[in-house]
Structure formats: C-alpha cells, structure tokens
C-alpha cells in the first residue's frame, strides 16, 4: 500500500502510522456531554467503503494526514494535511 503525502509524495505504507477515523479532529467541548464524548472516543461508523481517516507520516516529514480511502478496495481518493483541515474548521 502507498499513500501520497502532500509534502513528500507517494510513499510506502511502512513510513506511516495509522490512528483511526478522522472523527478525531472533531473534539467535543469539555461540557458536550457523555454521549458526545462516547461518540468521539469509542463509537465508529466503520463503513465498508469510502472513509476519512488520520495517518501520520512518522518516518517521513512528520505531518498528520487526512486520508480518504475505501476500506473495501483500499483505493485512496485523496490525502490532505490534517493541519489544513483543522485550520479550515476554526
């Protein structure tokens, strides 16, 4: 498997660390309530198909990445810098 890091280019999967669903970007407010936090930390859509997830180019440039990837075919539809996504949210 290969991911195209927006900074480094196409690289082997072994350079990357996988964390999980990109829901991790949507940290609830401290007082958002039990359900919001359970949703954030534990519950997952876990789709069989396209999904957004977080990877880290750990053995490369160090960027966290939002990867759009199909969990059934492993096809990658896009990779963006997590920082850009997070900044756009604010």
């Amino acid at each position: 498997m290969r991911l195209t890091c927006p900074i480094c280019g196409a690289r082997d999967r072994r350079e990357f660390y996988y964390q999980g669903d990109a829901v991790a970007l949507d940290r609830p407010a401290p007082g958002a309530g039990v359900q919001a936090w359970d949703d954030y930390v534990h519950l997952r859509d876990n789709p069989a198909g396209p999904r957004r997830e977080l990877w880290h180019h750990e053995a490369g440039c160090g960027a966290w990445l939002v990867v759009e990837r199909n969990t059934t075919t492993h096809e990658v539809h896009g990779v963006t810098l997590a920082m850009a996504v997070a900044e756009a949210r604010r």
């Binding site: 900074i7 480094c8 280019g9 690289r11 082997d12 072994r14 350079e15 180019h57 750990e58 053995a59 490369g60 440039c61 160090g62 960027a63």
Partner: protein, 181 residues
Amino acid sequence: MGELVGTSPCAGVLPLTIGDVQAVEVELGHLTSIAPFAGQATAASVALEAAHGMPLPKANCTTGKEGARAIWFGRDMALLAGPTCDPAVAKHAALTDQSDAWAAVTLSGPSAEDVLARLVPVDLRSVSFKRGHTARTLLKHMNGSVTRLGPESFLILVFRSMARTLAHDLKEAMEAVAARG
C-alpha cells in the same frame, strides 16, 4: 582535570569500503534545525539567505553547498549544516542545536545507488532523485534523511545512537551488492 573530549557517532564502526562503495563518516560542522514560526517562513528564509547565502529549501530539496547547506528536514523544518546559525534567524524560527544528534555518513561509489536500494523505500535513481534532492524516509528500520550529493554520492543522517546499526546495515547491503560483481 582536562577538557571534555568529543567523540564522533561513528567512531570505531566506519569507514567501510566494500566493492566499489565507501561509507565514510562526515563532519558537517554545526547542525541547527530551523522551524519557522507561523507565517514566518519567508522572513526566515530571507534572514537565512542574508546570513548564510542560501534560502530555506523547498520540501524534498536542499540549498547551499558543501560547508553551508540547508537540508529540508520535515514538515516546516530545515537543517542548517555548516555554520552556526545566525541569531537573526531566531526571530522568525525556532532554532534547535542538533549538532550532536545525528550520525552523518556519505555513501559513494558506482554502486551506492544499489546499496541504498536495499535499505530505502524511495526511488533514489538519478532520473527521479537528482543532486540536491533529499528525502525523509526509512533506512531499513531506522528513520533518517537521505540526500543526493552527486552522481555517485549520498549523504545519510540517522540518529546518533543508531550509528552502529547504520554501519551494520550498510555493511550487509554493501557486501551483497559487491558479491554480485
């Protein structure tokens, strides 16, 4: 009591010459990581150029030349190798002394590319990885940095503590390449 004595990372494990490839530890001088603060990349680059004659490198590239080189070193970071970084740059960037953090080795010879092809999961052939190109990547199991210095010459940086493993991994790869003749 005498002065503290400095020891280089690869002392005792390099140099190595096997077949037509040499691995030699290199003294790069001062190493300073330069991480421009938010929105300060251009200013940091200008300051660097004013002080040391080269701008900050683009991703996967180096600027400067032997003795004073800026090596792209990761997201929003470059490594200045050679001079002590001018304090003027510190206004625009976090500067961190890394002079003792990295083992620096040049690998050179006609088969140097073949040796690195045993260790690095990036296409380092001269068609795609030209002089002045650099990559943050893996060397076997180690995180490191690889830069092409010339047609048959590369600069390799890995953590200082892993110098022995670098020598071990290079040696195995060099032997295997050399044995193919």
